[in-house]
């Protein structure tokens, strides 16, 4: 058996989270927040629009970086969590490749993107296809999936770079297609830096 993506997605998607008595959500070794997707998209669009041409790449890098660090630290918490152990690990028969498949099932289940791995050269290169993601609604011009770029890079670093927390910034992710740019799906290519 390998990781049965649909089973994992359905199991994890049932989990609802909300603040505790302190209004905080301490999960996966981080503080989690649950925010309107429209707020996050609007911030990305407005800050990009406000940036002068010579600063736009710096702003885009900052948006990707926020998602990357979030994904790297939270992703480690996810793949070592009880729920991941219960739902995903019993299906793991192909080592790191299956952990990565499970992580992308969680990626879908928790609403970041309906996505999956379409090509994988272990430890070298990965192509992700996303058929739905909230950044596709961002309304700007061109490729705008900053969050997805950061998360794809983070998950590949967690799987194939040096063990957490020493493997940061080993790989890089580029977006090559985007629903927001008129393509039928989003495509994200992760390669070694």
């Amino acid at each position: 058996m390998t990781v049965m993506r649909d089973t994992v997605v359905k199991s994890l998607a049932k989990i609802n989270i909300q603040g505790d008595e302190n209004g905080l959500i301490p999960e996966y070794d981080v503080l989690v927040n649950l925010l309107p997707a429209s707020l996050l998209n609007t911030f990305s669009e407005r800050i990009m629009a406000a940036a002068p041409p010579d600063k736009k790449s710096k702003v885009a890098d900052g948006l990707v970086r926020a998602a990357y660090e979030c994904g790297y630290h939270t992703g480690c918490g996810i793949i070592t969590s009880d729920v991941f152990n219960d739902v995903v690990l019993p299906m793991v028969t192909e080592g790191e490749k299956d952990i990565l498949r499970g992580a992308f099932a969680a990626f879908t289940a928790w609403g970041w993107a309906k996505s999956g791995i379409v090509q994988l050269k272990e430890g070298e290169r990965m192509v992700i296809r996303a058929n739905d993601y909230y950044e596709a609604d961002s309304g700007g011009e061109g490729l705008r999936a900053y969050m997805l770029r950061g998360l794809c890079q983070a998950f590949f670093d967690l799987t194939y770079a040096d063990p957490y927390p020493d493997g940061m910034n080993t790989f890089v992710c580029h977006q090559t297609k985007g629903i927001e740019a008129g393509d039928p799906h989003g495509e994200f290519v992760v390669t070694r830096k």
């Binding site: 609007t42 911030f43 406000a50 600063k55 702003v59 998602a67 660090e69 630290h73 970041w112 739905d132």
Partner: protein
């Protein structure tokens, strides 16, 4: 908690919804870095832009809730904002005020505590996000449009490590 919470899932896209609004999970790393990015872009109005986006977005969510649930008194409406803040995992606040303004005390704070976890104490207030949130909360509570209130962070949990204080005045 008196807030009605309707969590739902789109079985086709797997997007999650809370009371009809699409929501997504991130961590304190994300909001800390978004806050820092806004700070680094102060020359193009980054902190104010973050406040404005939060105020406009949250005004829409909170106003939608009070309209659909027939909540008319300022106390009820303010309570919606206070409770939503905690449901979102943003922390816990105490609110005091009238239509002309007020004071909000932040007892726990995702953004400030997240900042401290990531980088330690800061030298100045950084919770632009909550300034925008409180402005939206007061505007909805007193049935006014967004941008009706000005909010300043007088004391910062990111600086003092204990509590935050926000002063609200009519614009």
């Amino acid at each position: 908690m008196s807030l009605k919470l309707d969590f739902s899932l789109d079985n086709e896209t797997f997007r999650h919804y809370l009371n009809g609004h699409a929501v997504v999970m991130h961590s304190h790393h994300y909001l800390a870095l978004i806050t820092k990015l806004a700070e680094e872009l102060s020359d193009i109005g980054g902190p104010q832009l973050l406040k404005d986006v939060v105020e406009e977005s949250m005004w829409a969510v909170l106003n939608d809730y009070v309209q659909k649930n027939g909540q008319t008194s300022p106390l009820q409406r303010c309570n919606v904002g206070r409770e939503y803040y905690s449901v979102y995992g943003l922390g816990k606040m105490k609110v005091a005020g009238t239509e002309s303004g007020g004071e909000v005390c932040l007892i726990r704070s995702h953004i400030d505590e997240g900042w401290i976890k990531k980088w330690g104490h800061h030298t100045k207030p950084v919770n632009h996000f909550t300034c925008g949130y409180i402005a939206a909360m007061f505007a909805v509570a007193f049935d006014k449009p967004a941008k009706s209130y000005r909010v300043t962070e007088a004391e910062s949990m990111a600086v003092n490590g204990t509590e935050g204080t926000f002063i609200v005045t009519l614009s």
